[in-house]
């Protein structure tokens, strides 16, 4: 049996002022906290153990195994999008330190490009709760943040990972701090040819005789072709705390990525004949200032995002010359500003206000062509758009057992305003015994078309309407246990949402795709979460996190014609059921971690046909890891081994996108004490 060894992932331990290893746990928490600012929130918070579980993990991996939202992955280290509650990825808003980072051209975020080691604080704001953070999250929002360490002096952490398919991951973090200053530099470098083997069930190889008659056929054992990647991430943070209520922070994140786009299982081309490459350079930065006083707070942020995206599709002409078939380039510059204020009146009222602005400048070149007059021309667009969002809220907790929050948001994209976006949240303690809390909320929401929706050539549709919807949810949660031995937390939420004028890109008779406001969708269902932490003995500890979602997402639009069989059917590629479980068993300095996730079958057609290619089978995935920390005099050394796809499943997550079979990872980490 392969020895499973694992990394030392360390995280900042604020109280002790140094990194600590992942097996050092805080006392069990059993308090059902209800901060006034989070009245009625339906949110999932990720603990640092989940975020720092592996240096090679992206946020897509973390979300897949620690929540029940749907992660649609096109392959290993390939585009991964997430969607809540039966909506699409573009209905998920993503913020990093308060700044929206969804690509304004595409309206979605690739979570495979966010290393989990760069995120200190992550939470999911389900449905209506996202209104408190940003508009446009018809399904919800993913809130990602970095937080200042509380180091005294110099700190260092280094992790190296070696994995199957010649995959190498490196992580380095250097910190320095004192009472006022905290400085941190993080770097992640991941490289792999990513050429994992798989049995291709979608095609056969022919064996011919001399007369070119087929005498045999077989399913080939292939490698993932043209799937190599090299991702570099650098994150610089500087924080200054006056100690008198003022904090200043600077975060700067640079990404340099080079990824090939893997060939489909049904591609009969030779990978050496083609080059299919995507490159990205992104720089994101946020400068923040927080001014805290006893009963009020003022915060200001300014940010900037630069993204350069290049896509090259080349063909070998047979003489070694690679000729461009497609050469697209895009540049996005985004300026960001945010001003927010909070004011407490006693301990029963909290008033908040925020004004956020994103100004995008987009230059997109999709194709270079020779015009009819012989001159050169570019198919693309140049557009700028200002996006404003304003929020006011009043949160009221008249008694310890009851809270209510009213939120009003208003948004403007370009020259178009939304109607006022109201949201109402209430919560109440049903029983102090067991911390049983009931929550309910409702909100309206709007999502504007992306810049590609409006202006992409060919196909952009400037006449698109914004999507609109209402969402309602209600749920109950409880927390029981005691600090020494045991805690159990659970929640169940029912939600119901309607989205009108859903934007979908469809082919046209002119040979290109174009978006239109096509569908009205009714998404509803139940989300259940539970987690428990048990101190079995003084040295044994068990932690279990589980989630389950039932998310019918039904097309309720008008049929396009009498032949249309999509009305009343589940949206394609949206699983009706999803679930995840993460179990962690520790003994002394050992940790055994088991992760499991599940998606029910996904239809590939809007009519839910059960033809041969009409569904993707139910998806199960099992990963396991074992970690040991060696504590030396000046350093902690961790060794971790992991097995992914434990049962060596041959599977697809998306049609024609093969996934890797069983694969192994070994990590060694060093933390300076």
């Amino acid at each position: 049996m392969l020895l499973l060894l694992t990394p030392l992932h360390a995280q900042q331990d604020g109280e002790r002022g140094r990194f600590r290893s992942s097996v050092e746990y805080e006392p069990i928490s059993v308090v059902g906290a209800r901060p006034i600012r989070e009245i009625g929130y339906q949110q999932t918070k990720f603990d640092s153990l989940a975020l720092k579980e592996g240096v090679s993990l992206s946020m897509a991996d973390v979300l897949a195994f620690n929540s029940s939202i749907y992660v649609k992955s096109y392959g290993r280290a390939t585009l991964s999008t997430v969607s809540f509650r039966g909506t699409s990825p573009s209905h998920t808003q993503v913020t990093w330190n308060g700044m929206r980072i969804s690509n304004p051209m595409l309206g979605m975020t690739d979570f495979s490009m966010i290393p989990a080691y760069f995120i200190d604080d992550a939470s999911l704001l389900h449905g209506t709760s996202s209104i408190n953070e940003t508009g446009g999250g018809m399904g919800g929002a993913v809130k990602l943040s970095t937080t200042p360490a509380t180091n005294e002096g110099f700190g260092l952490q280094y992790v190296q990972g070696i994995a199957s398919f010649k995959t190498f991951d490196e992580f380095l973090r250097l910190t320095w701090g004192n009472r006022n200053w905290q400085v941190s530099t993080r770097a992640v470098l991941s490289t792999s040819p990513n050429d994992y083997k798989y049995r291709n069930h979608d095609k056969k190889v022919n064996v011919y005789d001399e007369e070119m008659n087929i005498i045999d056929q077989y399913y080939p054992m292939e490698r993932n072709r043209s799937g190599a990647y090299r991702d570099l991430h650098l994150l610089q943070e500087i924080y200054y705390n006056t100690g008198r209520g003022d904090k200043i922070g600077l975060n700067a994140w640079y990404i340099n990525s080079k990824r090939e786009l893997a060939m489909l299982t049904v591609d009969h081309g030779d990978d050496t004949d083609f080059e299919n490459l995507q490159r990205e350079q992104t720089f994101r930065s946020v400068l923040s200032w927080d001014h805290l006083r006893q009963n009020w707070k003022l915060a200001a942020k300014a940010g900037y995002i630069y993204t350069w995206l290049a896509y090259d599709y080349k063909r070998d002409l047979g003489n070694g010359t690679m000729a461009h078939m497609t050469r697209s380039r895009s540049r996005v510059n985004t300026l960001y500003a945010d001003l927010s204020a909070e004011y407490y009146v006693g301990d029963k009222w909290l008033f908040t206000a925020a004004l956020t602005a994103h100004q995008h400048f987009v230059h997109s070149e999709d194709k270079n062509i020779i015009l009819q007059d012989g001159n050169r021309g570019i198919v693309g667009y140049d557009q700028a758009r200002i996006e404003l969002s304003a929020l006011v809220s009043a949160k009221w907790r008249p008694t310890e057992r009851f809270g209510m929050s009213v939120v009003l948001r208003e948004e403007m994209f370009g020259k178009e305003w939304t109607p006022p976006i109201p949201a109402l949240f209430i919560d109440g303690v049903l029983s102090k015994r067991g911390n049983v809390i009931a929550k309910a909320s409702l909100s309206r929401n709007f999502r504007f078309p992306t810049l590609n929706d409006l202006y992409f050539l060919p196909g952009g549709n400037p006449d698109l309407k914004k999507e609109s919807g209402w969402t309602y949810d209600a749920g109950v949660e409880f927390t029981v246990g005691n600090r020494e031995r045991f805690s159990l937390h659970g929640s169940a939420t029912w939600f119901d949402s309607y989205i009108h004028d859903w934007i979908i890109w469809l082919p046209t008779t002119k040979g290109f795709f174009s978006p239109d406001n096509i569908k009205d969708v009714h998404a509803y269902g139940i989300e259940v979460e539970a987690n428990t932490e048990i101190a079995l003995t003084k040295e044994w500890r068990l932690m279990l996190d589980g989630s389950f979602s039932w998310t019918p997402s039904i097309n309720e639009g008008e049929p396009r014609s009498a032949a249309d069989r999509s009305v009343g059917k589940q949206l394609p590629y949206v699983p009706e059921y999803s679930s995840s479980i993460s179990g962690r068993l520790t003994w002394r300095r050992w940790t055994l971690h088991y992760k499991w996730c599940y998606y029910s079958k996904r239809y590939t057609m809007s009519s839910n046909d059960l033809s041969l290619s009409g569904t993707l089978p139910t998806y199960f995935m099992n990963n396991i890891s074992l970690e040991k920390i060696f504590s030396l005099k000046k350093v902690d050394i961790s060794v971790k081994g992991a097995i992914n796809n434990l049962f060596n499943e041959e599977y697809l997550s998306v049609l024609s996108r093969p996934m890797p079979g069983i694969n192994f990872q070994l990590f060694v980490g060093i933390i300076l004490k």
């Binding site: 081309g269 198919v379 032949a563 041969l612």
Partner: protein, 353 residues
């Protein structure tokens, strides 16, 4: 607490059970004798769910996914076109970079041509020579269908690789005519003896299809490009071109914003059909475009069109929402609905056996 631990471990063991399978297909036996109609269902680009359907007009029976079912493997990504020669069907699967050769009675594969850039159409010149047009390539590939080999290329003049587009082919004597569609405005004349372009004719923006009528006149229809295209945007046009002189004889102009496509001829070659929201028909001798359609759309999204060469029945494909099984409507020459049936995703091309 020990009991709780046991329960937890048991629960964990239960969920380890896995049943996720990437299924192998099962080979089915078909015997499709007689005349019939193949329908090429493009599928969704990048999803590899193109399929092939087969319809028997006599029995009005349709079989879907016949390639998959006969061969236990997928057809591929974007099935673009198909032709039949001597009992062998040649199915061009654009984004799979392949042309499959199948037995038209059993639907079993008998061979395949690979190494193509982005194949669109195949045209036979002889048993051992055929041309394959390409998108994103400025070359037409010359292949030997007997050996499934690429044997050469025809370079298209004044065409870059990135803007490369050659489409449908029509033979006239020793010459072959090819329309060039994507960001192009030309018809090329190729000498099949020398495999070289010998002439070209400028037409409107983006000629989408090409046919040769009973009078040896070429017909092509342009889509006019699109609004804000740097290549231009104009009213689409229908051209009648004399094959011998390679000159435009007549030109019919549509309205700006129209999107005519799928130009077809009936079996006798004297009536043109095309799609432009509705289905339109016009005699090859007509002096102006018809004012009323042959068939009105009924909320349908017509995407493919063919005419039965034997009896003139009109088959029109409705892609519906492009993400479910499309539907074929079969009409008589008197516009009576004879049959309707579902096929695969985005039915775009037909091939008569």
């Amino acid at each position: 607490m020990t009991r709780l631990t046991n329960i937890s471990l048991c629960a964990m063991l239960l969920i380890l059970t896995s049943c996720m399978k990437w299924e192998y297909g099962e080979v089915e036996t078909f015997t499709a004798s007689g005349n019939g109609l193949f329908i090429c269902n493009e599928g969704n680009f990048q999803y590899g769910n193109a399929t092939l359907s087969y319809y028997d007009p006599a029995t009005q029976q349709v079989e879907n996914e016949v390639f998959y079912r006969a061969n236990a493997m997928k057809l591929g990504d974007v099935c673009q076109s198909m032709i039949i020669r001597d009992g062998i069907g040649w199915v061009v699967v654009n984004n799979s970079h392949v042309v499959f050769a199948i037995d038209t009675e059993t639907f079993k594969e008998v061979g395949r041509i690979t190494g193509l850039t982005s194949p669109r159409y195949i045209h036979f010149l002889s048993d051992d020579k055929a041309y394959v047009t390409q998108l994103w390539d400025n070359r037409i590939f010359i292949v030997n269908p007997k050996r499934y080999e690429i044997t050469g290329y025809i370079e298209i003049p004044n065409m870059s690789m990135e803007q490369g587009s050659t489409e449908q082919m029509v033979a006239w004597g020793d010459y072959l005519f090819v329309n060039s569609w994507s960001y192009q405005n030309r018809i090329f004349k190729i000498d099949t003896r020398t495999d070289s372009v010998v002439a070209e004719l400028e037409v409107g923006i983006q000629p989408t299809s090409l046919v040769l009528d009973c009078n040896n006149k070429l017909w092509t229809v342009t889509d006019g490009g699109y609004d804000n295209s740097p290549y231009g945007y104009e009213a689409p046009k229908l051209y009648c071109i004399d094959a011998e002189s390679f000159e435009i004889e007549r030109c019919f102009e549509f309205r700006l914003g129209d999107a005519p496509s799928e130009l077809q001829l009936n079996g006798s070659g004297d009536t043109l059909y095309w799609l432009n929201d509705d289905v339109w028909a016009m005699s090859v001798d007509a002096e102006r475009l018809p004012v009323r359609p042959f068939l009105n759309s009924r909320g349908t999204l017509y995407y493919g069109l063919t005419i039965d060469p034997y009896n003139g029945d009109v088959y029109v494909a409705d892609a519906i929402d492009y993400s479910q099984q499309g539907k074929i409507y079969r009409y008589s020459q008197t516009q009576e609905l004879i049959d309707e049936f579902y096929v695969g995703i985005i039915p775009g091309a037909f091939c008569w056996k």
